[in-house]
């Protein structure tokens, strides 16, 4: 009898294992489905998009939609594809990430190793800046960018993204340097090293991981931004997300779903690539952005 109880227990245990695995796999399929549909649709002809159904593999595999999205699709009045906007996004994200990361590192260094009264307040002020709804700065920002003569330009967007990325980069570096031993810094000071020398020689060489986290976090955020791009850079200097939305929502005539999906894939690829290559750091950034202090 004991044996039959034992087999029953093994039976229920196995039942639970199967249930757990099934649930997890069903969820995985649901997370993958939209990506699957995007990819297969982007490799179909428009006829096949209309005739077949969306989950099927392409019967006549073609990269036409991709080249159309990249080079000839019409966005607004010009029909040059999204390639120009893709480069706009690169030209916007790369400098903005570099500048915000650099300032963030220096700020974090000052706020942990060169403290002065009120440092906590300053950090709090910067941190709160990460969380404001950006709707509350749109009109003043548009005015200021206009006055500075950089409205509707990539330079304007770089400025915007640096300013609103500073809070996060400072947060990341501050929390990282907080755990960096003060003794090393103090020893270097006694040896006569100055402010920048200590930063260059002692902190920066061991900052690799947090630089990667910050760069990935900022790049993803800035690349994916839509609100600022739509508000401050209409027309030729618009970033990728804005162009994608224009392509999808305002195309007249026949809706070329395959081209839309190819364009969406192109917009998604840089951040997906970052995620695949450095997923661990991506998650660390998200977590650090979520759990403050």
């Amino acid at each position: 009898m004991a044996a039959s109880v034992a087999t029953a227990a093994v039976g229920t245990a196995r039942f639970w294992r199967v249930l757990i695995y099934t649930t997890l796999i069903v969820f995985a399929v649901m997370y993958l489905l939209p990506l699957w549909v995007m990819v297969v649709t982007s490799f179909k002809t428009l006829d096949e998009v209309h005739d077949g159904h969306m989950l099927q593999l392409p019967q006549n595999f073609t990269t036409e939609a991709w080249s159309s999205a990249w080079g000839t699709a019409c966005i607004g009045l010009t029909c040059e594809g999204i390639s120009g906007y893709f480069w706009n996004s690169i030209k916007m994200a790369v400098p903005a990430v570099a500048i915000a990361t650099m300032f963030g590192a220096l700020n974090g260094y000052v706020l942990t190793k060169w403290r002065f009264p009120g440092h906590k307040w300053i950090f709090g002020l910067m941190l709160f800046g990460c969380f404001i709804p950006f709707q509350v700065v749109l009109v003043p920002m548009a005015q200021v960018l206009g006055r500075l003569g950089i409205a509707n330009s990539t330079a304007g967007l770089v400025l915007v993204h640096v300013v609103y990325g500073l809070g996060f980069s400072t947060l990341f570096f501050r929390n990282y340097y907080e755990a960096f031993p003060n003794e090393l810094v103090r020893a270097a000071m006694i040896d006569g090293a100055g402010f920048f020398r200590i930063f260059w020689r002692i902190l920066l060489p061991s900052s690799g991981p947090i630089i990667v986290v910050t760069v990935i976090f900022l790049f993803t955020n800035i690349w994916n931004d839509f609100l600022f791009g739509a508000s401050f850079a209409a027309g030729g200097s618009a970033p990728m997300t804005v162009a994608l939305n224009n392509l999808v929502s305002s195309s007249t005539g026949v809706k070329e779903y395959n081209v839309h999906m190819a364009a969406a894939m192109i917009a998604a690829l840089p951040t997906l690539l970052v995620y695949v290559v450095a997923g661990r750091y991506f998650l660390r950034g998200l977590m650090a952005g979520a759990v403050k202090g």
């Binding site: 969820f27 009264p117 709707q135 920002m141 839509f226 508000s231 998200l286 202090g293």
Partner: protein
């Protein structure tokens, strides 16, 4: 270790003073930028919300006029109702799904390393990409509806995207798809941080798995719950991109949210003061959630040292 004492050579005193101020000098451009672009701009917008601005900013004081007009717009109530539906479902379901997946993944799953990235990857996408993908996926003619028809269930209809009563739920679905994996990761990190001794002790006492989770493990996840609620409510209140890409605020104004309301009143409907007033209300809502949290976190980190 506050100020560094300069080894006072008389000629070097000025340089020494300058070096003492160097950290503050390095910090000051960032601080100035934040003060101007965050706090200055907030005050500026608050001022605009008390002005007569229509198409362009006009700096004539109009008292609470814009707020009165805001609260008499049926559209604003639509936006608030939608935010309530969207916010509750988005936060609630993200947490439910995230917690479920985290607990299941924590059962020594052999393929965990393969599954985790699948749950999390949507978080790397732009909301515009997500919106575009789901718009196609839920397309009433060619999307999931057609797939089900082809499978033989020909009376199946799924027209939520163009149904004014249901459209807001498509935004909820897409948003959950994007964020729930991240919530899973937060809970999983929380689960991995729980002291194993505690769990073992409860197991020895004969607690069932269900009770173990209900009484010991889930209560220990409080910090993860808190972070999740904060992050999700912050994302939810700001939601703009996803609505624009998925429904454009429509059909009609069925998926209007405060963020889309603010944008259209400010930039296309020429009621800048009303738009400003709505932005101020969004800010106040987020502030009420974030500031106590930041305050507690900063105080905590001070005590920990």
């Amino acid at each position: 270790m506050t100020a560094i004492t300069s080894k006072a050579r008389p000629t070097g005193r000025a340089i020494g003073w300058l070096q003492g101020q160097l950290p503050k000098l390095v910090l000051s451009p960032s601080l100035a930028a934040i003060l101007v672009f965050v706090y200055g701009f907030i005050l500026w917008t608050i001022f605009l919300s008390f002005s007569k601005s229509k198409m362009l900013p006009v700096y004539k004081f109009a008292g609470l006029d814009a707020y009165v007009r805001l609260w008499s717009q049926p559209n604003w109530y639509v936006a608030l109702d939608n935010l309530a539906i969207y916010g509750v479902l988005y936060i609630g379901l993200c947490i439910a799904i995230g917690l479920l997946l985290a607990i299941l993944l924590d059962q020594r799953i052999r393929i965990e390393g393969g599954l985790r990235p699948i749950y999390l990857y949507p978080m790397a996408l732009s909301f515009i990409v997500t919106g575009t993908a789901w718009k196609w996926f839920l397309n009433p003619g060619l999307g999931i509806e057609k797939v089900v028809h082809d499978w033989g269930w020909t009376t199946f209809t799924f027209d939520w995207l163009i149904n004014p009563d249901k459209a807001i739920y498509t935004v909820v679905i897409a948003a959950i798809w994007q964020s729930s994996g991240f919530v899973m990761a937060m809970f999983l990190a929380g689960l991995r941080g729980i002291d194993n001794e505690l769990i073992r002790a409860a197991q020895i006492d004969g607690a069932s798995s269900f009770n173990l989770y209900r009484r010991i493990i889930i209560p220990q996840l409080r910090p993860a719950f808190l972070s999740a609620v904060i992050v999700l409510s912050h994302l939810g209140i700001k939601s703009y991109d996803l609505v624009i890409a998925l429904t454009g605020g429509g059909p009609g104004n069925a998926t209007e949210l405060p963020a889309t309301f603010m944008y259209s009143y400010t930039f296309t409907r020429n009621q800048m003061a009303v738009g400003g007033a709505s932005a101020v209300i969004m800010l106040m809502t987020i502030t009420a959630i974030i500031v106590p949290y930041l305050y507690a976190e900063l105080k905590e980190s001070g005590r920990g040292r």
